[in-house]
């Protein structure tokens, strides 16, 4: 079920505040955020966010195509290097 339009996009307030501050101070370093659930808004384009994946902040450079998606989409939370058996099979 998609979100009702009348509510507008969901963004955690602190993300907005940090983004605003970063833009005013001239775009430079990574903005650390923990809010993976926030929507990427048009005014975030060009900024770099460090999106937390549970372990560290993954730098995400926001481009125009990303608008409307959530930050969490760009910061994978799982590590998977394949099964041990896969490696053996490759060696042969």
């Amino acid at each position: 079920m998609t979100r009702s339009v009348w509510k507008g996009p969901f963004v955690d307030a602190y993300v907005l505040k940090k983004a605003e501050a970063a833009r005013e101070s001239g775009r430079k370093d990574v903005i650390k955020i923990w809010s993976r659930r926030s929507t990427i808004l048009p005014q975030f384009v060009g900024l770099t966010f460090g999106v937390y994946n549970g372990k560290k902040h993954i730098p995400v450079n926001v481009s125009e195509d990303m608008i409307g998606q959530k930050f969490g989409e760009y910061s994978p939370t799982r590590t998977y290097y394949g099964h041990a058996a896969d490696k053996k099979a490759k060696r042969k």
């Binding site: 481009s63 990303m66 998606q69 989409e73 760009y74 994978p76 058996a85 099979a89």
Partner: protein, 122 residues
């Protein structure tokens, strides 16, 4: 034999059924086309007049994306996701289900035929 939307040559079937042989046209779209062009649903392709076939062709050209164009559009959308580095793109890259389905079992459509794992039996 009628040639509609390039390569497709549907046979002596009923018109709505024959139209679904075109990529991008399913039962619903096929019915819509028949209604818009004014062809009865029970008629068969081989007793359509040339003018009627032309009308169908024009309607599809104007209103729908089909065949190669549609495939290209879908491919472009997938490619966009892959280039973006987002989760959905990663899933496409690995050829795994994109919409959160389980992969422990099933997911054979995306993963292809099951691969035997050496030495799995006790």
């Amino acid at each position: 034999m009628a040639r509609i939307a390039g390569v497709n040559i549907p046979s002596g079937k009923r018109v709505p059924i024959a139209l679904t042989y075109i990529t991008g046209i399913g039962p619903t779209k096929a019915d819509e086309i028949c209604e818009a062009v004014g062809i009865e649903r029970s008629r068969r392709v081989n007793d359509l007049s040339d003018a009627e076939v032309l009308k169908v062709r024009e309607y599809i050209d104007e209103n729908l994306t089909v065949e190669g164009d549609l495939r290209r559009e879908v491919q472009m959308n997938v490619k966009r996701l892959m280039d973006l580095g987002c989760y959905r793109g990663l899933r496409h890259r690995r050829n795994l289900p994109v919409r959160g389905q389980r992969t422990s079992t099933n997911a054979r459509t995306r993963k292809g035929p099951a691969k035997a794992i050496a030495g799995k039996k006790k």
